[in-house]
Amino acid sequence: MSVSFTGYTDRTKRKTVKGENTLDEAYAIEFKGISKSFGKIKANDHIDLALRKGEILSILGENGSGKTTLMNMIAGIYFPDEGHIRVNGKEVMIRSPKDSFDLKIGMIHQHFKLIPILTVAENIVLGLKEKDAMDMKKIEADVGALASRYGFEINPSEKIYNLSVSQKQTVEIVKVLYRGADLLILDEPTAVLTPQETEKLFEVMRNMRKDGKSLIIITHKLNEVLEISDRVSVLRKGKYIGTVDTKDATVSSLTEMMVGEKVSLNIHRSDPVNTQERLDLNQVTCRNGEGIATLDHVSFTVSGGEILGIAGISGSGQKEVLESIAGLQYIESGEIHFTPPGGGKEKISGLSVSQIRALGIKLAFVPEDRLGMGLVSSMDMTDNMMLRSYWSGKGMNLDRKTPKELAEKIIKELEVVTPGVSTPIGRLSGGNVQKVLVGREIASNPVVLMVAYPVRGLDINSSYLIYNLMSRQKENGAAVICVGEDLDVLLELCDRILVLHNGKVAGIVEARTSTKEQLGLMMTGTVEKMMGGKEAAV
């Protein structure tokens, strides 16, 4: 069987011999020499990659390595500048999501594309053309059958707004399966899941593979790669590095491929010494515009010289906790007290940011929304440094000299990659933006340091740099609060971990003696445990 191509140069000079099965057909999808640039940035540089039929392939790479860009080209969101794509041995042009769809490719994005007010079944058939009137009962039955075939648990007539995040993800997967997808691409699917939900997802993926589907999972989590995939393809800085069989790979071999050098991924954690209570939250309750309690009688303390981690499903109240302490969130009831190193408890709940500052309390806050809250993306580094210091000094005029020196110091010490202090921050890459933000916040030697998702989107080296910066602040006596989503990191970095569920404190545990599973159970509200140190029988 020969296929003719119009207007292309076939880069692989493979000759097909009559009667012999070409290797190409054993592949569900192949990338040959794919390149894609955005302005000066080469996101994908001549990538050659292949997914075999009926396998689970992990595409592994640091943040910024080009994984999502590559997959977006199969999904029809971007179009390659160079190179071509083959599906089932045939060369294809995927110019839009519809082409991708017609090729039986289904992509499950990180950000779901569901309509909350409709039911599961309605979302699944959204956009499909039916000649006759829709028979919802039949559709719901079909959806239910499809789901149970692979081991999904969903109710087809349930409204989306009632579903949890992991259930919504299930709907997205069933949606593409219903539309006949044979090739599924999952983009960082476990970022929003608890350990237990991740296990369930992997079960389902294995069932799909048994059924002959081919799957690609994009991830940067090494332990998951080792658990679920058959082979691993590694990307680094836009280039394809290589593919290995998972059974031959180890955490360090994969890390070396991802980063390009041997890195020891150790977080230095010392034991807390001379801890003094700094923050005391007592029955803090906050309500959102709809009257729902985003924080519900939350009480805990944080001491200087320790790192308290905060874990929880996204939206459990993490943002509200940090913002209440900072003075950015209105507290309906409850109190927050601060004890300075010299002693003497002061009430800080109800004070604004500038009032807290006026009391001389050095509170540093690295928010989740870096460019939308922590920094001004159109301003340069010097002006961004001034966000924390512009009011100082006499008179009406700004002092730009001191912030500029601080900016230069941060560039040097944290190795920020930037054309210079006068480049707008928005032009820097995610990792460098975060370095600037963290650098500025710790520059004042804060007494309380709060960080939210500090390494989200960052490459490995920057991530470990920031973990160690936080450890150093702790050793300097600061009370550090770290909201994070990677439970493995939290267990390694923090001294104690507080788990939030639905705005309530589900439990506070010692990090050194807890497990991911315990945290996972608390995150979903399955187990209510109080106070660290003692482990109740689960």
Partner: protein
């Protein structure tokens, strides 16, 4: 079509220069169609009308300064992303305050005192007119675009009421030239020059505002609030206070422009005293990206075309709307060129579908 990463100064100037040249060509075509005259002669007429003799040149300078002042007044509000569309009304209120002083006190106070009173009163009137929508935005988060726009109409009605009291001659429904014989309240000549005071006032305010925006703490607060109110709050900036303060400044400067018009130029007040300059200034400020030097250039260009068109209209028998058409064509090309500054158009070879 790709978004540009950044653009060199030279390329930027080139794109705008091409836009202006294209605009002039299209205008020439339009003019030929309308007047059947040689476009170069028509353009010469423009230049004649704008700069032909010292008197006309000074009028051009005066008008440029007024337009510039309004643009300078709008700048702080726009940098804060507070869309002050009410400059027209603020100018009018400043004009009313000035006219009131001229009419009631014009012949009883020395001219130095009168001048200071007029300037202060016009700034106060503009300040109040800008403060009202700002208060409602800060307290109730009302839409400032609509609010400031509505205030323009209120200002016009206030003038209509005032005209009832200030009619001269009675029954004519116009105020006429105020203090025509005594020149009471008229901006004094300086060094023998009628309009140099206008120029001095505007240049001083422009320099002050430039320094304020770039080098003062309050200017910094304006920039941060304009970029992101979340970030401003995070940094401890009192966003409400900044909104109120900035609109007071913006309104005051636009009000001041009103006194320059009433006291220093037309010496009368009517509902068309502002002549749409409150809106034109928005274009000037925006297209200059709030750079005062560029604002001077753009103001000059627009006033040049405006004054020139008046000449053309009489010389070649064109309708006075001809100047609006020409201004419109130039603005069209200049605004269009902004697209090419931000995006680069490339042609990719179409590939055939082979799925």
């Amino acid at each position: 079509m790709k978004k540009r990463n950044g653009i060199s100064f030279g390329e930027n100037v080139l794109i705008h220069a091409i836009a202006v040249i294209l605009a002039l060509i299209v205008c020439a075509v339009v003019i030929v169609a309308l007047t059947h005259q040689n476009p170069l002669q028509v353009y010469a007429g423009f230049a004649n009308g704008a700069l032909g003799n010292p008197r006309r040149s000074w009028i051009t300078v005066r008008e440029t300064m007024i337009l510039l002042l309004i643009a300078v007044g709008l700048t702080p509000a726009f940098m804060m992303r507070f869309w002050n569309i009410g400059a027209e009304g603020q100018i009018l209120m400043g004009g009313v305050a000035t006219a009131a002083i001229m009419i009631y006190l014009g012949n009883s106070l020395p001219s130095g005192v009168l001048l200071i009173l007029m300037l202060l009163a016009s700034m106060a009137a503009g300040l109040i007119w800008g403060l009202i929508p700002a208060y409602f935005k800060a307290k109730y988060n009302t839409n400032e675009t609509l609010f400031t726009l509505m205030m323009n109409y209120v200002a016009m009605q206030i003038i209509t009421v005032c005209i009832c009291f200030w009619e001269n001659p009675t029954g004519s429904n116009t105020v006429g030239i105020i203090n025509q014989k005594t020149r009471g309240g008229w901006f004094p000549y300086l060094g023998g020059n009628e309009y140099i005071l206008n120029v001095i006032i505007v240049m001083i305010i422009t320099v002050i505002m430039y320094i304020y925006q770039r080098y003062s703490k309050q200017g910094y607060e304006i920039s941060v609030v304009g970029s992101s109110q979340n970030t401003a709050r995070y940094a401890g900036i009192n966003v409400k206070k900044v909104i109120l303060r900035t609109m007071m400044i913006s309104g005051a400067i636009c009000g001041l422009a009103g006194s320059l018009i009433v006291g220093g130029a037309s010496h009368t007040i009517s509902t068309s005293t502002a002549k749409g300059r409150g809106f034109t200034a928005i274009v000037v400020a925006w297209m200059a990206h709030f750079n005062p030097f560029v604002m001077i250039l753009i103001s000059f260009l627009l006033v040049f075309m405006q004054q020139g068109a008046i000449q053309i209209a009489t010389q070649f028998g064109l309708n006075e709307n001809a100047s609006d058409i020409i201004t419109g064509i130039i603005l069209f090309f200049l605004i269009g060129s902004e697209f090419f500054v931000n995006y680069k158009v490339e042609f990719t070879k179409g590939k055939k579908e082979a799925a």
